[in-house]
Symmetry: D2
Subunit: 345 residues, 4 copies
């Protein structure tokens, strides 16, 4: 069946498969201490705008998104701290309490188009330290954002800079979840680059799973920001991959010949065409965004009809007769798929 359910329903780029086949019997050292991982890290650092002659970021590869959020947040927070997130943030809603499992609270702020507003963050921090009994409360110890957000929306450079400024003023790290980062970087009209993100955050990750890797997320700590013995703590979380080079070579491929950005661009172009198709058929958009996720309100009868031929994602019920569903394009979406979809809309 035709699937627009998500951007991780296919395996991986052919380049990755080829690289895995080519290196399959090489005999490589485990746990990410290999040459492929080292090479991938160099390429990522360069793509983030680090020059060879300056302090380098520390980069680690992990397997999945929830795992990465859990490991990064729990290792960067002190025991008495929680993490600030939008109330729609993935860590607070769809990760089965992975952050709380490690002992930390998610401190929520109402979202604005899926995003955290710097002024709201500042106001929370100010109110916290203004409360006489704050020592009986969870300290806000980190800010978590995703880019694109859960609603596919993007921060502007101004918004991201404002968030960064608040975090630095209060000396707490800014963490950007980039599970779909490539789709954000390639969106039309965005003024945020990978180098901006590297410069304005303390830690972020470059999502692989949703961008055409079999699996894998690249965590980039700004120079000096990685927690001591992060490596051991990934082991302690059960998050260390024995054949760690599999992560390295996937990111090596993704950051060779601009593959990562091309993957992003494809999804954006296909989403553009799909939006036009949907508009032409009279669908109503639930929340507009410039990335690869398209949220539309569908009448339930129509939806039932549609789902005979196409997989989409349930998002939420609007009322008894209407539902918000998500169409997602991705690195693997083709025009042929869109042609077929058009016949069912």
């Amino acid at each position: 069946m035709l699937s627009f359910q998500c951007d991780y329903a296919e395996g991986c780029h052919q380049e990755i498969l080829d690289l895995m086949a080519r290196t399959n019997r090489e005999g490589i050292i485990g746990y990410g201490c290999d040459e492929y991982s080292a090479r991938a890290k160099k390429k990522i650092a360069a793509a983030c705008g680090y020059r060879d002659d300056e302090s380098q970021p520390e980069i680690f590869f992990l397997v999945g998104g929830t795992q990465t959020n859990q490991v990064v947040i729990s290792t960067m927070l002190d025991s008495y701290q929680g993490v600030i997130a939008a109330d729609t943030g993935h860590i607070g809603v769809h990760e089965a309490g992975a952050v709380e499992y490690t002992g930390h609270k998610v401190l929520t702020i109402p979202h604005k188009n899926g995003k955290l507003d710097a002024a709201d963050v500042k106001s929370l921090l100010k109110k916290f330290y203004g409360d006489g009994s704050y020592e009986h409360m969870v300290f806000p110890g980190m800010v978590y954002i995703s880019h694109p957000s859960e609603y596919g929306t993007l921060y502007t450079l101004e918004e991201l800079t404002a968030l960064s400024k608040v975090c630095r003023e209060y000396d707490i790290p800014l963490f950007l979840d980039g599970a779909r980062l490539g789709y954000g970087l390639m969106a039309e009209g965005t003024d945020v680059t990978l180098a901006d993100i590297a410069r304005l955050t303390d830690v972020f990750y470059i999502g692989g799973t949703k961008m055409g890797a079999l699996f894998g997320e690249a965590v980039v700590f700004a120079p000096g920001k990685a927690p001591k013995h992060f490596y051991t703590m990934t082991k302690q979380h059960g998050a260390m991959l024995a054949k760690g080079w599999l992560l390295g070579l996937q990111f090596d491929a993704l950051f060779t010949d601009d593959l990562y950005m091309k993957a992003g661009r494809n999804a954006i172009e296909k989403a553009g065409r799909l939006r036009k198709m949907l508009a032409a058929k009279g669908y109503n958009f639930f929340m507009e965004n410039p990335t690869n996720q398209i949220f539309v309100v569908v009448e339930n009868g129509k939806l039932k009809e549609l789902e005979k031929n196409v997989c989409v994602s349930f998002w939420e019920a609007v009322d008894d007769s209407h539902t918000v569903v998500r169409f997602a394009t991705g690195w693997a979406t083709t025009d042929k798929m869109l042609d077929e979809l058009d016949t069912y809309l």
Copy 2:
């Protein structure tokens, strides 16, 4: 200085001091396995309306409120579950993340006068199980309420019954935090009795610390509801008192000759007089309630003046020039204290 800051600023009832002096050199077995504890449990069970010939509740004594909330919630929840609470609930705001420290999320619902509405709880549960991806989310596994609430408000019997019904429909326990239970039970107009609470909840606690014990909370599990090896888990939490009989004899005293209820009644009467005094002086009430906590809006200049002679509790800022403060009466409040206060208002 005159203090209306809280209901735990004095030591304890004279009866408790006397009992402690009388038994001081007895040589008693530790960890709560003593006769005083056994006797106190019997008296509490009887006060809760249990007849001798029926299944008895399991009762445990712990030292403090946050500790009790932490131990009860973490031992009753499964690993994949969180606890539903009002967004003003003590566990989510003023306990430094003690619940999250044990690995569980607090799932919040906007409060109504400091209380959880049964319809809102039902709606959360319905929505949760209606979401196709609920297995990626924290399961709602318990409902936490406090009676009186953080705002001193009380559930009616109808409201409590409705909450109990929803919990039983979804087979999750209802936990009532009774840190100030006596002030609730003795409030004018309440139709909720201790026996109602014992019957409608799965577990609740009878607060001692705020009701004239030096310390101590009595946790009452409905028959068959106590977690297996709860005793060992209190040890594991560092919550087991070596000289456990000190808890037993305090509750023995509190449940002898109606001392607990008398303590509650005193606070209610004194609060009644204080409300009249405040109204007479033109103070505005922030949120009305029938118990021992009185929330008033004070102009900041006036507040500064007042605080030269009286301790009150900062609650929250209203605007740049007004503040909500709390006056609390308690088991130890006297008319003499009120007379003096009247001169400063």
Copy 3:
């Protein structure tokens, strides 16, 4: 450089690569809810001796060994329980405290040839319940063994049966870590089959990572033994793979045409030849075992020489001039590799 360092230095069986290439652009549902995973589970259940007309085991796929140990142990134990293991057990030594991270103690017993002795386990359990203050101690709540053990040794059917009997007598689960299970099942002289393990344990896992999968471990719970909502808890641990079918299709391949057993047999045959080569050159064996790990004592000067051409694993220092090292063969070891190694020994 020639590597005998471990059994996970190569990628995977050609059959797996082929299957991944063939299905790469299919569009498959995520999180392990796919057809490949379902098919693999059926094949594993059959290999474990389950007939179609009886209660089936519940099978889950996870990514790595430490992760699997952490998730299985923490979800099967109650909060007040710990897990019994040999003092050499992987969970207690080389997993960075992953079990303790989830709140549970590893209760150690001195190993016998890397194994747990049923009589020692029984004696620990008897002593525990005989201690008047056992309610102040961690309850033994599970037995963890590995087969092959850390030293490559194997349980006999009699030993495994005895362990199973003790566990059932005390009503605690027996968990078998089968990270290298195939090398154990194919060892010469073993009388333990996969069906025996399925029958005698409550949960075990069939290691993929060390047996020629890119990654992946198949957890097999005996019928009725899987913890409630295990799926959600894998998510909570950050252990759920988005493209879960990658695990399913690897195990599908491993359990097609006996690939898993062939992989085991190859390592055993190669280890047999290697043992003879080492003996012929006068090496001393540190601890004998019938599986794919060979521990030899090497003089440090000789070792330095050897390591110019061959990677082996440091195991432990014997004295100032001798070291125990491990040679590991695996599914990917070839005679050509052994021919070359022979020239360096």
Copy 4:
């Protein structure tokens, strides 16, 4: 019945009861921010040998011993670290896994007369850092000792100095559990003073519960060694006492007119007389020590007889017909009690 079961079977010193009665209705600020607590801290600092003109220790009061061990250890360790202890250490055996509950491993070393040997600690640390795969293991991050030990034995100044030296060499804190500290300081022949302990450790606690307080332990962090926001973390652990002044005034009393040391001396004198009584009746000592706990081997028939009139503590079974039991004297033991005991021995 006559009890020599433990040193916490009586309430408290008369001086403490009097102070509690005198201050009972004062109206005191909560959570340990009161004058009594401040005064007690000053007295303790002075008793530890701190001059007014030098950096002061940070002192906190907690309620019980297991709680104190849990809070101190978990807040001083980094996530990737465990605590080294003797295999007989209280934290590893009789605290229901309270340390593991916070995510940390107890790394055990075989005891020598209930004590940790500095050479053994150094050897563990050396071996750890010498292991090529130590980053896959729990880092030794603290040393825990108790003085007196579980067997009532004492460190000499030389032994304590050696432990301190190893810890400083490896930059990990030395933590001394002083639940029975007064009995150690007052033992005959000891050359270790309170000032030595303050100087040689990074944190230790002065036990109150077993020395004649109703409850309470005073944690003393060397200057600059207290974890950031320790106060909030005690709240997070459920370990903060609302009426915190009750701890302060008990330690105020204990450190006034040498009460703490007198309490210790009484127990030591009574233990001396008891040892002579036991020897005269032909009892065999299991392990000799100079403090208030006396371990003797008793024939089971004789024990049964004895227990008709006297409570003692079961320690361990020697064989089928003999048992090790403990007699404990304490701050409350009188000659009259010993006279009576003598008739039963």
